[in-house]
Symmetry: D2
Subunit: 281 residues, 4 copies
């Protein structure tokens, strides 16, 4: 409110430019450029150095980080993103299908509708896990001497005291073990990427099992959160992985909806039931 | 994580229904119903009791609350929502226009794109003001004996100590006074709706001016936050008023974009400037 | 591809600006402006001339047309837009509720998701009716001598021959008559706005009934399409009325979803049933 | 309107279920299922058969088609989708960045806003090319004896007569040749996928050059449209490839926006210029 107001701080933050002459600031992006005969993304010639040389996952890594994935990074990154593509008939998939039923000429809007719900409830757990881990072991520092057991004890105790849900562990369905988590950790280990964040995530699960007295293994969101930290990705980007992966999954759902629709049937059932108590005999 | 998991708690929260027989819960809505010859919204016959008898603002009030607005409520509610319709060439309007340029056949998607950005930065201040006020004076209680000056002192001190921005006061452009705020308070007063929340908002502004030593009058978001509390609306709904109002404003922008486009020009300028540093001579 | 390429003509239409020096074109909007002490929308002072003087429907008319509604226009416009606000548990409402379940912190995104489906299937009929009528009786001309019966005969025959659905007539539920249509026509007539477009819509319905041998009265979309033409609105804007009205309705649904959720139950039922045929015993 | 009404045919298509008892139809999806200890997508065990064994492009192919890509299909599909990921500072990227500036806490909504504009203008050319080709050479038939020159002559003449833009050829920037097209065709040829659709697209470009008397080589959208037809994908899905690819690109733009923002600067410039003609001295 006072000095140092953030760039866009309220509905009311109409630009001061409307008042006084303002010096324009530069607009700059480092992602891509093109000329009459060249198209370049992240410094690589698209036709010559990328097409035919990379798979989609590796190109996503390049687009997001500006770096080419090593073979090890490629293996782990592809596995991690693939895990996020498809989760069955989620609320997100249902929203996309309902939207497609109303506007089949605008498939992009149906995918957009499906993505809009990837918020705190659905990708939050993954984001929260990455955040917890990266706050415990700040990126860019040496954590070889960290006492992971002690950190795990502190974190579990703090979450318990605050009545907060510990992200990344336990699962309502996949019991005793979410089979994706050990597989992702296995792939990480095979590629030399099972470091302190993976170890801390596992230590937290073990400590939570001890404290709560029941099976609470690391689930897929915990595994992905930990692996993101191993890559050095900031926790805020984790949601982006879910969003880009799910876009692929939603296109698959819309293709199926076009061939074997369910949206109208869901609509009819819901409409019929929801207001039955209001309609006169 | 433990007992009492929230309804949808993570990406991983696939329904337990996939495991065991589940008793279905009822699906119920009280908003509207129709039969062969009747269409009813919020218990009123749409053709007979609503069309021709209400204006759009009053019908919005009915749709949202289930109650008909009194003449006083109608005057204040219409003024409040109208204030939120149009704010010039906002990021939201630019996003809608850019989207329309790519998909002019899907106007609904362009409005949707414009709405997607009405988040913490743009409607947050209004939401935060309503939240601050309703937490200070919990709804449904008698606040006639409340010491508003003391509450204002506490709140300003608490926000200052936490380094947080006080919502609803000050303005980067409209100085010394955002002209909407006194007008909204005037309309509220004329209609008997300038109660304890309006008074508290003003007390907070006065206290902030005293503490920070500069002019910090209530702005439009503060006025709207206070008036929402006078209505008894929960603070979570305040964002919804902004969203529904802005949808009207965005349709106006898209109409203008169809007749006098600016999206392509913005695009060309940004594209040209953003990657100029990368392109070879 | 050849001379006269449209402004944005393909995925590939990167701006020629990347190639040669380009003279910038002006960016201009006539909707609103503000200064230190004034906020003006469509040439009216917002605090002084609009707040407290207009209802939301009249302000929407001003925002969209740049003109103030006459009392007659106000009556008809408010009724028309109100008709579009709420239609019960539509696919659009279900999409919004599913989205809200995943991202309750982003109510704006849930409304956006609901709007994304207002496409050819749902608002198409209204848009098509307005288009049919405005092509038959071009706006801005004198239609007092038009032979509406002959036009109706031609249109019904042409649609029948092409196997196309005539927009604006008949209704799967509301039989024999959609009660909104006669009421909207009544309000139009009371306000001197039941002109040639309303008459042509009715003539088309009568001719269709004669040709198809069954009851096919004008429905609400036909009535709204005709009234839009009476206002002189271009048919492309008709969808915008539906979008802005439905935004209000969707906020109502999300409020209810927050208090009495149904999204999770719909999800559980769909998830359980959809893949039951795949799951092993 | 008459017999055989489409499933959802108008705003007014409230379900007949509100009237009479209706037999529910089944809801069915073949994409994925899970149980306590298994997660299966398209018939493959996700942890055991997919993670660590596929790259993201190949998994997208599986998700969309239900089939595993051959090595040849993998090479061509990955190249095709990668081509669509990133196009610099497009209107779509600007819309996403403007949205992110208003709601940084809802990254998914910013991606959704960016996707909403992938409509007729931006992905239309690719979709149109695939449609033109698949209508000329219906999928599932033997086209070995087709006279591609004659088809090209007919198509070019027909588009010219109708004043329509031929999709997939020419380019406003990349002259004389869009470098992506020959590279994609090269990759297709190397993998045995340069069949009749690729040949027809090239014949159309040659014929158009002859008729219009200037250089009009196949561009990237033409190459992608042709390759989609070689895969046997229906033309309606082509837009989906663009949408899922661009979701990846948009996440990259939002990451950059978070680190080096441009949205506020674009906003300030546009706001300042757009209403300058209205503001008093």
């Amino acid at each position: 409110m006072t000095a140092g107001a953030p760039p866009l701080h309220s509905e009311e933050a109409e630009p001061e430019a409307t008042m006084t002459r303002r010096e324009p600031n530069p607009i700059r992006s480092d992602i891509a450029w093109s000329t009459r005969d060249r198209i370049t993304v992240r410094g690589r010639d698209l036709p010559g150095q990328i097409l035919g040389h990379m798979n989609l996952g590796d190109f996503a890594f390049l687009q997001l980080t500006g770096r080419e994935a090593t073979p090890q990074q490629s293996a782990v990154f592809n596995a991690m993103v693939i895990t996020l593509v498809e989760h069955g008939m989620t609320p997100s998939a249902i929203a996309a299908r309902m939207t497609y039923a109303g506007a089949p000429e605008a498939l992009q809007a149906a995918v957009a509708a499906g993505l809009c719900g990837l918020g705190s409830v659905f990708v939050g757990s993954m984001e929260d896990a990455a955040r917890l881990l990266s706050e415990a072991l700040p990126p860019g520092q040496d954590h070889s001497g960290a006492d992971l057991q002690a950190i795990a004890r502190d974190k579990v105790a703090a979450y318990r005291q605050a009545g907060r849900i510990l992200p990344g562990i336990g699962h309502p369905i996949h019991k005793p073990v979410d089979p994706r988590a050990p597989r992702l950790f296995e792939i990480a280990a095979e590629n030399g990427m099972a470091g302190p964040y993976v170890a801390l995530m596992q230590a937290i699960a073990a400590e939570a099992e001890r404290v709560y007295g029941r099976s609470l293994p690391v689930n897929a969101t915990g595994a992905i959160g930990a692996i993101c930290c191993e890559f050095g990705f900031p926790w805020r980007i984790v949601r982006g992985f879910g969003v880009m992966a799910r876009a692929i999954g939603l296109v698959g759902h819309l293709l199926e909806e076009g061939e074997r629709p369910m949206a109208r049937e869901i609509w009819l059932r819901v409409e019929d039931e929801a207001s039955a108590h209001l309609r006169p005999e």
